[in-house]
C-alpha cells in the first residue's frame, strides 16, 4: 500500500492528467514542505544531473529540440523571450520623397517595416531616445527608387502586364543598402539586404514611381511585432499514454483509430490482436478516445510535466539555435541587472 501511495504521489507530481472533462494536476507542486519524504529544495547538482537537451531536427530556419528536467516557469520564460525580447533590425522610419503609386504612404511604410532585414542585430546598438537623425552605429539606411514605364516593344494586342510594362511589380530585391558614415569600413564584407528577395511591396503602372529612404533600427518584439525574430516559437509537453488494461481485437482497432497514426501499434500475440503504445510523442491529443464508452476508462492520457518539445522557426535573420542562445543570455542579463541593483542600492 505504501508503494502504491508513493506511485500515486509520483504520478501527481510529474504528470499532468487529461481527464474527460478537464485537466488535472496542472500546477507545479514540488516545492519544499509540500510532500513529506521528498527532497524538493533547490539543488543545482541534482538539476544538472537530471537536465538534458536533445536536438531532434534541424532544417533551414526551423529547429525542434527537447528540454527535459526543467520547469514550466523557466521554459515559458524562454518562449516569451524568443517571441518578444530578442532584438532584430527592422525599418522604422521611412522618408518619402516621391510616392505617386496607388499604395498610400502609411500603408507602404507599414509594409516596409514588416520586411525582415538580414542584418545581425548584435553588430548594432539601440538608438538613443529622442535621437531623430541616427548615427552609423545604430542605423541602417536603405533606398527604394523605382519607376514604372511602358514597354515600346510590346505586341499591340497583348494584355499581359509583364510584357507591357517595365518595373510594374516592386519587390524587396529593389531595396538597396546605402552605407552611412564609416559603415563601409566597419562592414566591408557585409551585404545588408532583406532576407527574401521576392516579397511584393507594391504594384505600379506607367508614370508612377516610388522614391523612399528607409532607416532601420534595432528593436524588440515587445515594442512592435515587426521586430520579432521568430516566425513562431512554441512548445508542447511530451504526451504519455498508458493502457490500464490489455486491449484486444476490435477494441484495439478502434483504439488505433482514436489516436494519430503511429501512436498505437497492433501486435499479434498468440493469434489475438493486442494494442501497444508505440510512440506516444507523435500524438496530438484529440481525446477521441473519450467518445467511446468501452475505451474511455481503459486509457490514461497524461503529459510529462518537465519534458518540453520546443519548436522554433526563424524568419531568416538569425539561425534558430543562435536565437535560443540569445534568449537564454537575455534572461541571464535580466537577473544580472537586478543583482547589480541589489548590490548598489543599500536596503533600509
Amino acid at each position: 500500500a505504501a508503494m502504491a501511495a508513493r506511485a500515486l504521489t509520483d504520478s501527481m507530481r510529474d504528470r499532468v492528467v487529461l481527464g474527460e472533462f478537464g485537466v488535472r494536476n496542472v500546477h507545479t507542486t514540488d516545492f519544499p514542505g509540500n510532500y513529506p519524504g521528498y527532497e524538493d529544495a533547490w539543488d543545482q547538482r541534482r538539476f544538472e544531473e537530471a537536465f538534458r537537451v536533445d536536438i531532434i531536427r534541424e532544417e533551414e530556419g526551423a529547429l525542434e529540440f527537447d528540454m527535459v528536467g526543467i520547469d514550466a516557469a523557466i521554459a515559458n520564460a524562454f518562449r516569451r523571450i524568443l517571441l518578444a525580447e530578442v532584438p532584430t533590425m527592422a525599418v522604422e522610419k521611412v522618408f518619402v520623397y516621391n510616392n505617386t503609386s496607388i499604395v498610400q504612404d502609411e500603408i507602404l511604410a507599414h509594409r516596409l517595416g514588416l520586411i525582415p532585414i538580414r542584418a545581425d542585430p548584435r553588430l548594432f546598438e539601440y538608438r538613443n531616445q529622442g535621437d531623430e537623425e541616427g548615427t552609423e552605429i545604430d542605423t541602417l539606411q536603405f533606398q527604394l527608387k523605382i519607376k514604372c514605364s511602358r514597354n515600346p516593344q510590346a505586341a499591340k494586342e497583348s494584355s499581359d502586364p509583364n510584357e507591357l510594362y517595365f518595373n510594374h511589380k516592386v519587390y524587396s530585391k529593389h531595396m538597396t543598402w546605402v552605407p552611412l558614415g564609416n559603415q563601409t569600413d566597419l562592414f566591408p564584407d557585409a551585404d545588408f539586404r532583406p532576407v527574401h528577395d521576392d516579397i511584393l511591396i507594391a504594384l505600379l503602372r506607367p508614370g508612377q514611381e516610388i522614391d523612399v529612404l528607409m532607416h532601420c533600427v534595432k528593436g524588440i518584439g515587445k515594442d512592435h511585432a515587426k521586430f520579432s525574430p521568430v516566425a513562431t516559437a512554441s512548445y508542447r509537453l511530451l504526451p504519455d499514454i498508458t493502457l490500464l488494461q490489455p486491449i484486444e481485437d476490435e477494441a484495439a482497432e478502434t483504439l488505433q483509430k482514436c489516436f494519430s497514426p503511429g501512436v498505437i501499434e497492433i501486435q499479434k500475440i498468440k493469434g489475438k490482436k493486442v494494442a501497444r503504445v508505440a510512440n506516444a510523442r507523435l500524438d496530438t491529443f484529440s481525446r477521441e478516445v473519450f467518445r467511446h464508452e468501452n475505451l474511455k476508462n481503459l486509457v490514461r492520457l497524461a503529459r510529462v510535466r518537465n519534458h518540453y518539445i520546443f519548436s522554433v522557426e526563424s524568419t531568416g535573420i538569425l539561425p534558430p539555435d543562435v536565437l535560443v542562445s540569445e534568449a537564454i543570455k537575455i534572461l541571464m542579463g535580466k537577473c544580472q541587472r537586478f543583482l547589480n541593483e541589489l548590490d548598489s542600492v543599500p536596503m533600509e
Binding site: 533547490w42 538534458r52 534572461l331
Partner: protein, 96 residues
C-alpha cells in the same frame, strides 16, 4: 527596484519593466528555497509594466537573502541550460 515592508522578513519588491517572463521564473526559484514561507508576484495593472514581488521568510532571515539567492540560482540554471544546449547542438551537427 523598491522595497517595502513591516520588518525585514516580509518584503514586497517592486520590479519595473518586468512581466511574467522574469516574475514567474523567479517565483519558482524562490519557492524552491526551504526558508521561504510565502512567495508570490502580481502585475498591478496590465498597462504598467511593473510587478509586485513579495517574499516572506520563516524565522528571522532578511527577505533580501532569498531574493538574491533566487536570482543567483536562476542565473546558474540559465548558464547550465546554455552550456547544455550549445553542447547538444555541436554534437548533433557533428554526427549529422
Amino acid at each position: 527596484v523598491q522595497a517595502d515592508g513591516t520588518d525585514g522578513n516580509c518584503v514586497t519588491f517592486v520590479l519595473h519593466d518586468e512581466d511574467h517572463t522574469l516574475g514567474n521564473s523567479l517565483r519558482y526559484m524562490v519557492m524552491k528555497n526551504p526558508d521561504v514561507e510565502f512567495c508570490g508576484y502580481c502585475i498591478t495593472h496590465p498597462s504598467e509594466s511593473k510587478i509586485n514581488f513579495r517574499i516572506q521568510t520563516r524565522g528571522t532571515l532578511p527577505a533580501v537573502e532569498p531574493f538574491r539567492k533566487g536570482l543567483n540560482d536562476l542565473m546558474g540554471v540559465c548558464q547550465h541550460v546554455l552550456n547544455t544546449f550549445e553542447r547538444s547542438m555541436k554534437e548533433f551537427r557533428a554526427q549529422r
